[in-house]
């Protein structure tokens, strides 16, 4: 049984079809990368899996349990599925430590001391323990994104959903954040990653999905999808990115 199983998922925003008949799965310890042009529905797919937006048709399972099952109601799903956003979405009025310990304390009922010790430990691992008392707007974008990752990690999720977590970073800062993700992969974290960094995608992905206009057009190991895509639309997409001087 795969950890995450998406079956025939369909979603509209108003009249607009945003996801259409998506079938997808993520195995234990697997890292799945979603690529595709802007507006193809990648973020929406992640949000559906994280139950952050409702969907119209189809099913999503976490370890075989539908995510709208009472067994996953309330904060049961969020405990097990962590999300990191492109724009970090740190709480600007809380310092780094409070940002990270808010959920452990309020959702999991962990004591402040314990939660903070754990948070510091994780911050240490990413080399930003000295920023514990800073407020988000005093941090560089790369530092903010690392805090956001720690905030998701202290919930001990079984699955991490990462949505273009480097898109808003200055080029020099991208590397640092991506290496955090590489480490997580090495530790066996199950992840679904949306990214435009093709080099990174090839490096980290076990499997790649290519989305275009609400549909999955292509799926497979990164070498094949990125190196020798079957679908003309995929080829065109990659071609454009190469032209732009990347890859």
């Amino acid at each position: 049984m795969r950890r995450i199983e998406v079956q025939d998922l369909t979603k509209y925003y108003g009249d607009k079809l945003v996801l259409h008949g998506i079938d997808m799965g993520v195995g234990e310890h697997e890292v799945v990368v979603l690529i595709g042009p802007s507006g193809s529905g990648k973020s929406t797919l992640l949000r559906c899996i994280g139950r952050l937006v409702p969907y119209d048709y189809g099913k999503i399972f976490l370890d075989g349990v539908p995510i709208d099952d009472p067994a996953l109601a309330g904060n049961e799903l969020p405990k097990r599925v962590g999300v990191v956003f492109q724009s970090y979405n740190l709480f600007p009025h809380l310092d780094v430590l409070d940002n990270i310990t808010l959920a452990p304390r309020k959702v999991h009922g962990i004591d402040r001391d314990v939660a903070e010790a754990r948070a510091l430990e994780e911050l240490e691992k990413l080399g930003i323990a000295d920023l514990a008392d800073s407020y988000p707007d005093k941090l560089s974008s790369g530092q903010q994104q690392r805090v956001a990752i720690v905030r998701a990690l202290v919930n001990d999720p079984e699955v991490l959903l990462l949505d273009e977590i480097t898109a808003a970073l200055d080029p020099e800062l991208v590397g640092g954040v991506l290496s955090v993700i590489r480490d997580l992969k090495a530790q066996g974290m199950t992840m679904v990653i949306v990214t435009h960094e093709m080099g990174f995608a090839r490096d980290v992905a076990d499997r790649v999905y290519f989305l275009d206009q609400a549909r999955i057009l292509e799926e497979g190991p990164p070498d094949r999808v990125l190196g020798d895509p079957e679908h003309p639309r995929t080829r065109q997409f990659l071609q454009r990115i190469i032209e732009a001087g990347r890859l």
């Binding site: 949000r47 952050l52 709480f91 600007p92 009025h93 707007d137 919930n155």
Partner: protein, 256 residues
């Protein structure tokens, strides 16, 4: 250069006014130092009432509207009646001139003689101010809540916070911070609207000044009252401006 032209302009205006044949008379009736001095103790005593009412009603307004706005922001059918109430409330009390509201509350409700309800004009006048300003302030808070980006809700939800926790820990602190300038400006406005209490017989600064005027047929006491209000409001207004500007800079920086 700039000082010269300022002086010239103001000087010409002053000349125009004082050249009027009626200027000496006007000066005596509006700017008579002895009358200002004479009325000052009474006007000042009235002004303390203004200030006390201002502070008390400000605290009440801030708290009540925050509660209203928070309840309104909660979703779900349980809170529907409250939302209906809020809409009616806001339409009603934002729509009636403060002068009218003051008359209706300050004189009408005490006449009802409801059991267990105080009947002092000061009390009901303050209630009228609070009721009227809560309508505005709730809207201000609501706009502050709306201005908190939805991604903050998404982040809180993704962390497993409940609706109430999200509001309490993620949304409201940011919402309040968003609207501090607007709240300060309301406070400045309230400071002056407290003068409306004079209409329902409360002897605040304006009422004392008008009593003096009626007694002596001299208007200098109104100038005394104006000076007191200026002394109180200029620092407040400047402070509000400063906070507004700093807030705007903060916003710009963030967008940049």
């Amino acid at each position: 250069m700039s000082i010269v032209s300022t002086v010239v302009v103001f000087g010409l205006a002053a000349l125009w006014i004082t050249s009027s044949a009626h200027w000496p008379r006007l000066r005596d009736q509006f700017f008579s130092w002895s009358h200002i001095e004479e009325s000052f103790p009474d006007v000042l005593r009235g002004f303390w009432i203004n200030m006390r009412v201002w502070i008390i009603s400000m605290i009440l307004i801030m708290l009540i509207s925050l509660l209203f706005a928070a309840l309104r922001a909660l979703r779900g059918p349980w809170f529907a009646p409250f939302r209906v109430f809020a809409v009616l409330y806001i339409d009603l009390f934002r729509g009636i001139p403060a002068v009218l509201l003051m008359l209706l509350f300050g004189l009408g409700i005490p006449a009802l003689q409801l059991p267990g309800v105080p009947d002092a004009a000061l009390f009901w006048g303050t209630v009228a101010l609070v009721v009227s300003y809560v309508a505005y302030t709730t809207e201000v808070y609501r706009s502050g809540i709306d201005a908190v980006h939805d991604s903050q809700r998404a982040a809180a939800k993704a962390l497993g916070l409940t609706q109430w926790q999200t509001l309490r820990h993620a949304i409201l602190p940011q919402a309040v911070r968003n609207v501090v300038p607007a709240l300060l400006n309301l406070a400045v406005a309230l400071q002056k609207d407290v003068a409306l209490l004079s209409i329902i017989g409360v002897r605040d600064a304006v009422r004392e000044a008008r009593i003096f005027t009626a007694r002596t047929f001299n208007y200098s006491s109104l100038i005394a009252a104006a000076i007191l209000f200026l002394i109180a409001s200029i620092p407040m207004a400047r402070f509000a401006d400063w906070v507004t500007r700093r807030d705007q800079e903060r916003r710009l920086q963030r967008t940049m």
